[in-house]
């Protein structure tokens, strides 16, 4: 059967072009790859290569023709034993073929008028979360630091699963730049506790590759500031591969390390990445505020089959708190916690922000304002239900974060409250955040750049009209 050569689309947006020149004439033998014509588009003159073999039977569109629509037959190629007379006989069939293609092409447009009725997109799935596990009555509570809680979580999971390993700068022989991996090398050896060169982009990518092959890496960034070097691998490779592969492969990997401001380390070592990572579908983002949550959630993160960003805080590493002494204390990802009950105003925060929030609640209590403080613990998926329930009770909300305000996590929380509890609000949601400046070094300026207990108290009073 003779084959039509169609006017090709030479870019994703091309709809028509000019047939500038024929380089073959009727009767010429054509091989795959031969340049047969030149076509002018709005961007360039392109060569058309034949992808079929045979004889050029008939030229249907003369050279010099302007505005030839994509998919118009421009010539006919004859196979062995066919002659030009068969072209005519085939012409209706050719036209039909063209029509079907046109139909395929025109599909989005044809569907367009219906668009109003058709649902634009299916509803996003709801993330179902279990409640915190019951800690049996009489369970011994052990007071340990956040640093120890994180280490214990990793050690327990490494004992449990041989595919779990930890890698990063100074995690092994140095025992961790912030001593979070202390003792792991001694217990698990250098095969599973791996010192890397200073090469964040490289080892983040290597970790993702190992995860695609089925291992379960814990990648420590000395701080998340350095993960900016690796963010392409975290987002483009770790977060998106499951989707792009149609579910065939994904990365079970934890990226962890201190996030946000430490103290007096200046602009490049003090950034809070909560908003950055919680913007990305495919990632889970966890940021605990106390040792028990740190342990339970890091264990959950290591077991979660998805890439998890685990944002710690250097200032919190040394703080102690009670952790239940249980064989396997695992907390649910995506579940917020009411850290302090109250009825007058809801304060929502996480990680280091909880320090300001809880102290502010103490101050407010002295003035007769009972604040309910909610610790998000997980930023993605965000437990909207818990803070909406609280806001419905209090009618007032304040968010507290160290990160910048524009497009921040506080902005997201405020938007959700507006969408889901607008009628319950007695005042606009207030946001306390880091000031929109690179972190200054001078002690007084640094203090001004960060949120403070006083700012939280002030914001809470403002929304209570006090």
């Amino acid at each position: 059967m003779p084959t039509n050569i169609l006017m090709p689309a030479l870019s994703p947006t091309m709809e028509k072009g000019n047939l500038a020149k024929w380089l073959k004439k009727e009767g010429d033998t054509i091989k795959s790859g031969d340049i047969i014509a030149e076509i002018e588009t709005d961007k360039a003159t392109m060569e058309v290569e034949a992808s079929d073999e045979g004889t050029l039977g008939k030229i249907l569109i003369a050279e010099g023709t302007q505005d030839v629509a994509v998919n118009t037959p421009i010539a006919v190629i004859l196979n062995e034993g066919e002659d030009a007379s068969s072209v005519k006989a085939e012409a209706p069939a050719a036209a039909k073929a063209e029509k079907t293609e046109e139909k395929a092409e025109a599909k989005p447009e044809a569907a367009a008028p219906k668009e109003e009725k058709a649902p634009a997109a299916p509803a996003a799935p709801v993330h179902a979360v279990a409640a915190d596990p019951d800690v049996p009555e009489g369970t011994e509570m052990v007071t340990i630091t956040m640093r120890e809680a994180l280490r214990d979580a990793m050690a327990e999971e490494m004992r449990r699963d041989g595919d779990v390993f930890v890698m990063g700068e100074e995690v092994a022989e140095y025992q961790g730049a912030y001593k979070v991996t202390q003792g792991l090398l001694q217990e698990f050896g250098d095969k599973r506790v791996i010192d890397t060169p200073i090469t964040e982009h490289g080892f983040a990518g290597l970790g993702v590759g190992a995860a695609l092959a089925g291992l379960k890496p814990i990648v420590e960034f000395m701080t998340f500031n350095f993960a900016m070097q690796a963010i392409d691998q975290i987002i483009n490779s770790a977060a998106k591969t499951l989707y792009m592969s149609g579910g065939q492969m994904g990365a079970q990997i934890v990226f962890r390390g201190p996030n946000g401001a430490a103290a007096r380390v200046g602009a490049q070592h003090s950034q809070d990445y909560s908003a950055w990572y919680s913007n990305i579908p495919g990632l889970r983002v966890i940021s605990p505020s106390n040792p028990a949550d740190a342990k339970g959630l890091l264990k959950a993160a290591i077991r979660d089959p998805n890439p998890v960003i685990f944002l710690e805080n250097e200032i919190l590493y040394g703080q102690s708190g009670p952790v239940p002494k249980m064989d396997d204390f695992v907390l649910p990802i995506g579940k917020a916690k009411v850290a302090r009950a109250g009825k007058d105003v809801t304060i929502i925060s996480w990680s280091m922000g909880m320090q300001y929030a809880l102290k502010a609640a103490d101050e407010l209590a002295k003035d007769g304002i009972e604040a309910e403080v909610i610790d998000l613990r997980t930023l993605k998926p965000m437990d909207t239900e818990t803070f909406i329930a609280s806001v419905k009770k209090t009618g007032r909300a304040v968010t507290v974060e160290e990160g910048w305000q524009q497009s921040g996590v506080g902005a997201e929380i405020a938007a959700r409250i507006m969408e889901q509890a607008f009628d319950y609000l007695d005042a606009p949601v207030a946001r306390v955040s880091g000031k929109e400046v690179p972190m200054p070094y001078a002690a007084n300026l640094e203090k001004l750049a960060l949120p403070s207990v006083a700012e939280v108290v002030e914001a809470a009073k403002a929304v209570c009209y006090r």
């Binding site: 169609l6 006017m7 090709p8 689309a9 030479l10 870019s11 994703p12 795959s32 790859g33 340049i35 961007k43 360039a44 003159t45 060569e47 992808s51 994509v70 998919n71 293609e101 395929a104 092409e105 649902p119 997109a121 299916p122 509803a123 996003a124 799935p125 390993f165 095969k191 090469t199 982009h201 490289g202 080892f203 983040a204 990518g205 290597l206 970790g207 993702v208 590759g209 190992a210 995860a211 695609l212 092959a213 089925g214 291992l215 392409d232 691998q233 483009n236 490779s237 591969t241 499951l242 792009m244 592969s245 149609g246 579910g247 065939q248 492969m249 994904g250 579908p281 495919g282 089959p305």
Partner: protein, 342 residues
């Protein structure tokens, strides 16, 4: 194409050592290589045609001209080995044994494409066939491939990873971060640099201070050699050596494949940075498929009719794939929110 000046670097030699000597193919090897290379070429021609018809959208980077590289490399692999590459990836998928229908249906964004239509030309995977993508960010596949090799070493098996990248990606920093770790930890990865001489429109002489890319591993003590990437026998011989090196636990190896792409960088590249004569010269004097074809006839491994039969069966396979990919339905709207998490 200038005569291929092939060099080999080992930890002790500089660039004077000869390349791995070519080993003649048996009849079966020659015919298998011919059929596979032809399958890739015809597949790509068809993909180009379907792009022209608007059935394939977005970017579409064709592999035409470079077929001997993947086919020769694949001949050195065994069960459990892994392959990863960038976005000029259709040839790799076909060579790995992935189904042409599934690949083509992914190109047309349909439900039975390898990624259910959610990945496209640049993002396709097959765990079953050991193909780990299909990556759209130039150079990103190199640390990922190094990580696949890390997993082999961690598990203590003797599998090897082929991490392909181009002369363009060879200038990305993460490639060298990977080289360093791979040699430091003796990871079983062959870095296959497909030097087709142009990173999009920039020739390697305009982009690279050291254009002999096989030497790019020298400061990491990774041996490397240049290979005539248009001769599938030369590729296979070099691949055998490199893969054996890795399997023996000696660490990574670099193979710079001197190759050439006939088509533009992507479908929308008018390729004005090189002359038609340059393309034609490679095509007529150094075409990887024609060279095997001539050899097969000369050695009487097959007759003209036998080759015609192969050509016809390859065409059928490709047409069948195109037909499937044209009529397969688009993914169900419910697929929008699946496989973001598991």
């Amino acid at each position: 194409m200038p005569a291929v000046k092939a060099n080999s670097n080992t930890q002790t030699d500089d660039d004077q050592a000869p390349t791995t000597p070519l080993v003649e193919f048996s009849k079966d090897q020659d015919l298998a290589a011919y059929e596979m290379m032809l399958s890739i070429r015809r597949f790509e021609e068809k993909a180009g045609q379907m792009y022209g018809m608007g059935l394939i959208g977005g970017f579409c980077h064709l592999y035409i001209g470079q077929e001997a590289v993947v086919v020769g490399m694949q001949m050195a692999l065994k069960e459990g080995d892994q392959v990863i590459t960038g976005y000029r990836d259709h040839g790799h998928m076909i060579a790995c044994g992935m189904d042409a229908k599934g690949v083509m249906a992914e190109l047309t964004g349909r439900a039975h494409g390898y990624s259910k239509g959610k990945g496209g030309s640049m993002h396709m995977f097959s765990k079953e066939k050991g193909f780990y993508g299909g990556h759209g960010i130039v150079g990103a596949q190199v640390p990922l491939g190094t990580g696949l090799a890390f997993a082999n070493r961690y598990r203590g098996n003797d599998n090897v990873t082929l991490a392909y990248f181009g002369d363009g990606a060879a200038n990305q920093g993460q490639v060298y971060e990977s080289f360093n770790m791979a040699e430091l930890w003796k990871l079983p990865v062959v870095y296959v640099i497909e030097n087709n001489r142009y990173a999009m429109g920039t020739s390697s002489t305009r982009s690279s201070a050291e254009t002999n890319l096989s030497r790019r591993g020298l400061s990491f003590k990774i041996p490397g050699e240049q290979v005539d990437g248009m001769d599938v026998r030369a590729v296979k011989a070099a691949a055998d050596k490199a893969v054996a090196w890795c399997r023996a636990g000696k660490g990574p190896y670099i193979l710079e494949m001197l190759t050439y792409r006939y088509r533009g960088h992507s479908m929308s590249d008018p390729a004005k940075y090189r002359t038609r004569e340059e393309v034609d010269k490679v095509r007529t004097t150094h075409d990887p498929i024609d060279m095997v074809r001539l050899r097969v006839l000369e050695k009487k491994f097959a007759k003209e009719e036998d080759l015609k039969k192969i050509d016809a069966s390859v065409r059928d396979l490709v047409n069948e794939a195109a037909e499937f990919a044209t009529h397969d339905p688009e993914p169900d709207p419910s697929e929008l929110f699946t496989e973001i998490y598991r």
